[in-house]
């Protein structure tokens, strides 16, 4: 409750306070486990979101509990019922008309906004929200009719925010293990741009209202303290992170965009200054002799390995391949597969036009399958497609697939 300097609050003030408290209760409903306790499981937020989504979709008539449960399937009915009750208790959901037998409910708007806000905070540690807040402050202090009071409030608010941030980091850096510190690494993200944004607000305020130099000095101190805390924490993290753990202190998106957006030279540059061993396999006479022996034993005596090709498939081309067909075959496979890992043989043959062309493609597919260095194979299933109007008029059901070349020893 607001304290108003000794005098009794007016009726208007009381009504205003009640509205604020009502809103507080509503927005915190999504965090309430039950009356008086906070949720300990973020899965509950999913249930709340599903319920609030259902209300958004329901339109003006609202929803009964049963309708809400139905709309939230496949979520557990008992769980949905329980969350529904919690939300109702906090006023996030209320009866359409306040009478004893009313079954239809409506949802307040604020809890949903709160939910979205929480999710974003959870993902980014509040960085995006801070950026937006700073942008808003910047806009506010630039308004032509803004007063010195607006500037004062804005600068004071920013001072507090950066003190909070700096304090949290400084305390963590001083007293906690590298692991704990690492868990809060997102406090370090985007620090430069946050400070820059705050400095922009500061510049506007000091220019427009020189009398606020005291407040502005406080903000500058808070920013400096935050910068120091970032530096100390980062230094401590780097010192304690060992030989790979510091990698986890950058956000996933940073890694993904670096990996996907960098050219070969940039990536290779990371390993400038590192020396690795050249391949140096050893072949002992014993290994050579054994390999020759086992090759001889299977040679002649054994039939070609039974590939599960459908009986109706034409025999593969057996002419000697050109010296290097791996590239040709790889290109073919990549062209056929595109972005998928599997493509039906029927589709490939259909696309090849006439039968001689299809036969050539089939020969290539067979070569792909047998090529020891290429990670593709033909997988055949039972079943034969017969289409008398097509050429060829029959094809067996099989697919060209990209396979895992698991360490194929021997």
């Amino acid at each position: 409750m607001r304290v108003t300097g000794g005098t009794e609050p007016t009726l208007d003030q009381l009504a205003g306070d009640a509205a604020v408290v009502r809103l507080y209760r509503q927005v915190f409903a999504v965090l309430a486990r039950e009356s008086g306790a906070m949720i300990a499981d973020s899965g509950m937020l999913d249930v709340d979101e599903a319920i609030l989504d259902a209300f958004a979709d329901a339109g003006r008539e609202g929803l009964t509990l049963d309708q809400a449960v139905a709309a939230c399937r496949p979520l557990d009915a008992r769980l949905v019922t329980r969350r529904f009750e919690v939300l109702r208790e906090y006023g996030a959901i209320s009866k359409v008309v306040d009478r004893p037998n009313e079954r239809f409910h409506r949802a307040a708007f604020a809890p949903y906004v709160m939910l979205l806000f929480l999710r974003r905070m959870a993902e980014q540690g509040g960085q995006a929200e801070l950026h937006q807040l700073l942008t808003l402050e910047h806009v506010n202090v630039q308004e032509p009719d803004a007063t010195a009071e607006v500037g004062r409030t804005s600068v004071s608010r920013l001072s507090r925010i950066f003190r909070h941030l700096g304090n949290e980091l400084a305390i963590l850096a001083a007293g906690s293990t590298a692991e704990t510190l690492g868990d809060h690494a997102q406090l370090l993200w985007g620090n430069k741009s946050l400070i820059t944004q705050a400095e922009h607000v500061h510049a506007v305020v000091i220019e427009r209202w020189p009398q606020l130099h005291g407040e502005c000095a406080t903000l500058r101190l808070a920013l400096a303290a935050y910068g120091d805390a970032v530096e100390t924490a980062a230094g401590r993290l780097i010192e304690q992170a060992g030989t790979t753990r510091a990698l986890g202190l950058l956000p996933v998106e940073t890694w993904v965009s670096f990996a996907r957006g960098s050219d070969a030279d940039t990536l290779a540059g990371v390993l400038d200054g590192f020396v690795f061993d050249a391949p140096a396999p050893w072949f002992s006479p014993h290994q050579l002799t054994e390999a020759v022996e086992s090759g001889r034993q299977t040679g002649g005596a054994r039939q070609p390995p039974p590939r599960p090709e459908a009986g109706a498939a034409p025999p593969p081309e057996t002419t000697v391949a050109p010296a290097d067909d791996a590239d040709h075959l790889r290109d073919l496979a990549e062209r056929l597969l595109g972005d998928t890992t599997s493509v039906p043989v029927t589709e490939v043959l259909d696309d090849s036009g006439d039968w001689p062309a299809a036969r050539r493609v089939l020969a290539d597919l067979t070569a792909l399958h047998h090529h020891p260095d290429l990670p593709y194979e033909l997988v055949w299933s039972d079943g034969l497609r017969i289409d008398v109007t097509a050429s060829p008029s029959w094809t067996s059901h099989g697919s060209l697939v990209r396979v895992a070349d698991a360490e194929a020893e021997k």
Partner: protein
């Protein structure tokens, strides 16, 4: 022996055996393999007995991973059969052999896959072996030679290999 020797050895390990000009300096403890035309010299590290890779077998430790190890070993044996024309003498430098001749030797010691698969296996193995210094492969001429790493086989190993050589059809 100097710091520079250590640097040389490290360079040989990370880059594989390498050719230098015949009058180039070379570190202690490496073997110099002179090219038949004397135009270059290969430097190959020379390890004392007891420190060579054959020790791994005795210890039951795994050596470097080799894709298609069986075929790769057979292709090396086939090359040995084709390129080591005087098995009573040293294995280096041997002579160049046409890839087709190697293919014939390889076919005689391998299962009867179809020709295309056989050829692909041969080519894959030749490239792998060339990549690790066991062979020298001239892709344009389709000629295979033994690589400098064969000089790492010691006298006892060479005598086993002579036996293998004799047992293989050409």
């Amino acid at each position: 022996m100097s710091d520079d020797d250590a640097l040389w050895w490290a360079r040989l390990r990370s880059g594989g055996p390498r050719p230098v000009s015949p009058d180039s300096a070379y570190p202690a403890g490496v073997r110099r393999l002179v090219e038949p035309d004397a135009g270059a010299v290969w430097l190959v590290p020379d390890l004392p007995d007891g420190a060579r890779p054959d020790v791994l077998d005795e210890l039951g430790l795994p050596g470097a991973h080799v894709d298609q190890r069986g075929d790769t070993a057979r292709v090396l044996a086939a090359c040995l059969r084709c390129c080591w024309t005087e098995p009573s003498g040293p294995v280096w430098p041997g002579v160049g052999a046409q890839l087709d001749d190697v293919a014939t030797a390889f076919r005689s010691i391998t299962d009867n896959r179809d020709e295309r698969a056989l050829h692909a296996a041969l080519l894959g193995a030749v490239r792998r072996l060339a990549g690790s210094g066991w062979l020298i492969f001239d892709e344009d001429q389709r000629v295979v030679r033994l690589g400098p790493r064969v000089a790492m086989w010691n006298a006892a190993e060479l005598s086993s290999l002579r036996e293998l050589w004799r047992s293989m059809p050409r």
